[in-house]
Amino acid sequence: MSDQSIAFSNEGSARAYAVLTVVIACGASILAYPKGVPWSPDFSDLTLLVLYALGRWIRMGVEPSGHVTLSPLVLFTSVLIGRPQVAVLSAALVPILVTRYVSRRKWNEALAEAGEEALASALFVFLMVVTQVVPNDPRWIVFPVAVVAYVLVKLAVDGGFAFLSAGVRLSSSLATGATYVLLHHLFLAVAALGVSLLFSKVGFLVVPLAAIALIEFYYPGKLISEQREVSFASLSMIAQAIDAKDPYTAMHSRNVSEISVRIARSMRLSEVDVRKLRIGGLLHDIGKIGVSGQIIRKPAGLTTNEQLAMREHPVVSANIMKPVELLAEAAELVRHHHEHYDGSGYPDGLSGKAIPLGSRIILVADAYDAMTTDRPYRKGRSREEALAVLREHAGRQFDVNVVAALEEVLEFF
């Protein structure tokens, strides 16, 4: 039953994509390595390498996919103060180690991120070195161009990975996360420019001072980003503990959350709505915590009282969530996740567009996952059978558009 998990797993193609990125990035790094520029490694280069790793440690997640770090500051600065070699080397070697062993991401993610960083950095260094830009040079125009190129490569590589591993479309990752990512890097570019100017006035001392000062400034951001993941993990743990009352639905809440998110992305909902759905899908059955396990597991023939208890659970769920600040926004969706499109559902008998779109999505995701899961009294239906049932009831129980969106999502996997 636990291997009966989510219908979408593209681990394989995500891994292949990650490895391919790394291979291309290795080639690009070797090509971009500035052999022509004289270099005798010294203590400053070592400092830059360490600062690069520290910057990488400040890692902040970006919705809907990807992340930003502070290492670009060190990368840009290294090139601007005339040490492009250490920039290429750090970008090629450090990210994989820090992402895997310090930030403890999965191998797929670590590989994809390392490849992304090395590839983008190689392009950046190549553009800067081939045009031989030095500080106080009138051709400074190259620097902003190289920064933008760097960001674009990162966004493209990351967008591909997000699509393969989480079904996020490039258009939606560009629409929401990209602006933030671009602004973040532009800010770091301005800061790097400032540091390189101070460097020419004061000396190398300012480089570590500025990098560490900025790392401190961003540290709360890193804490929030990590805590957000931990909070979500503990919510999903609670959801799973409730699911465990019925061993046949061990992964149900997580699946509903994941399917709802994918439907929402396919329907191009805003990231705010996606976040609500992620939490709403996860906790939609939290009200069952008070319903006895025996009723939940009962195959059929509930008594009237038992039915009442079951029908009460969306309201109980919503009431549990409402007082908690960060869950309140999803409570409304959970309350109405058993309303039917024709008004025959519960608890409020809403119909059509009066039902929040998020609730209509959870209803479809819930039904799909329930139908495809094995039960003690019947085997789970196949994907096609489940879709046929959904289509049959579309317009009465389910929203036609949501069912269509689910079909679209399933086509990819």
Binding site: L198, V202, P208, I224, R228, S231, S234, P247, V324
Partner: protein, 421 residues
């Protein structure tokens, strides 16, 4: 305030007095323009009214950073006057106007910052030459002197007020604040460089960043609170389903943490041990009622009951700490390899799980119920029960640490406390 001793009153008065005398003697000219004075006064005053939550607890203000810029750029005399009056004014606005306290606070801060400025100059510090020898080293030394002196004034104040021992309070304070003081130095040094080479008004950028930091940290603390509430709620749900009843998970966590501290396990790991012990029986939620309430007699029920460790491990797998998962999965393994679910033995069982195994059995013996007798054992019997299984059920090293904590009274004490709740 009537109860203050005469000695204390004279101390409070003497600090500003000494400050004034130092000021007279140094009587150096102010080489600082009126608008720079205004800038620092405003910034320090504002910063002292903008406390920023520290993730490790308490609040910090950004005044320290500004003091270091001030003392390195403008020397001891200007530092003493500006830091003293601005800090006093800020304290008066944010915490109310109590003449003696405001004046004392301002004076001690002025004296500390002035002293730091003096040390900076004596060590050859010079902001015209921003090298590490002539700038950074004196800068760091001056900041340490500032901290030590500030901690001394405060420790002395409290030693008079609450009769706390002066020297040990002072040394503890220095240790407690050292790390956060060192962390302000890169920013302070950078701001000094910007102040000198670019423009004094760059300090305003820094002031502008403070509300951002404050907001970010408040958000973080809010999220952490939510997380803790979620874990607490789940713990209550686990215990409600369990024969040993309310507080069992919490008591196991307290005992496991005490043993772990005795074994000198790093605090980060202890945090994971706490969470792991709170959740060690989370899989019980997934068991049928017949299995978890009654005494299991049928072989089927025993087998099913044993599944709670694997069900639980599946549930906590989403949490980012591996130790939590290990504790939930392996807390019923035995040192001699006869436990479940995988029959691991000795050091194959992760240490956190070996610790929680001892804590779990100890608490269950005291509480009584399945699989022990109904009434529960006495404290001494339970301790003997654990020691008797050293090397068979339990890791001898963990049992040794457990015995030490019992001898020291730490476990006994925490037991009494938790029982009365």
């Amino acid at each position: 305030m009537e109860t203050l001793s005469r000695g204390f009153q004279s101390y409070v008065l003497s600090v500003p007095l000494i400050g004034g005398i130092v000021l007279l003697f140094v009587s150096g000219k102010f080489q600082i323009s009126w608008w720079e004075i205004l800038l620092f006064m405003t910034l320090i005053g504002t910063a002292s009214m903008l406390p920023i939550p520290d993730p490790r607890g308490g609040y910090i203000t950004a005044t320290g950073t500004l003091f270091y810029v001030l003392m390195s750029v403008h020397g001891p005399v200007a530092s003493l006057v500006i830091a003293g009056s601005a800090y006093g004014a800020g304290a008066a606005v944010s915490r109310g106007w109590y003449p003696w306290r405001t004046i004392f606070n301002g004076a001690q801060m002025g004296a500390s910052v002035g002293l730091a400025g003096l040390v900076f100059q004596l060590l050859g510090g010079f902001t015209g030459d921003l090298s590490w020898q002539r700038f950074l080293v004196p800068f760091v030394a001056a900041s340490l002197v500032h901290q030590a002196s500030n901690n001394f004034f405060v420790a002395f104040y409290f030693s008079q007020l609450r009769r706390a021992p002066l020297l040990s309070t002072w040394i503890t304070d220095i240790g407690d604040f050292l790390w956060s003081n060192l962390l302000t130095l890169p920013t302070a040094a950078l701001l000094t460089i910007l102040y000198v080479t670019v423009h004094p008004l760059t300090l305003l950028l820094y002031l502008g960043s403070l509300p951002l930091q404050r907001r970010a940290l408040l958000l973080y603390l809010q999220q952490r609170r939510l997380h803790n509430q979620a874990i607490d709620a789940l713990t209550v749900a686990i215990d409600a389903d369990f024969p040993q009843g309310r507080g069992h998970s919490r008591r196991v966590a307290d005992t496991a943490m005490t043993i772990a501290r005795e074994m000198k396990i790093p605090e980060v790991e202890i945090e994971a041990i706490e969470l792991g012990s709170l959740l060690h029986d989370v899989g019980i939620i997934g068991l049928e009622d017949s299995v978890k309430t009654g005494t299991p007699e049928a072989q089927d029920d025993v087998t099913r009951f044993r599944e709670h460790v694997t069900i639980g491990a599946d549930i906590v797998r989403a949490l980012p700490r591996r130790a939590i998962w290990e504790i939930v999965l392996y807390h019923h393994e035995r040192y001699d390899g006869r436990g479940y679910p995988s029959g691991k033995s000795g050091n194959e069982i992760p240490l956190p799980a070996r610790i929680v195994a001892v804590a779990e059995v100890f608490e269950s013996m005291l509480a009584g119920g399945f699989p022990y007798n109904e009434r529960g054992r006495s404290f001494g019997e339970a301790v003997a029960g654990i020691q008797g299984e050293s090397g068979s059920a339990f890791d001898p090293q963990v049992v040794q640490a457990f015995t030490r904590t019992v001898d020291l009274g730490t476990i006994g004490a925490s037991r009494e406390g938790s029982r009365s709740r």
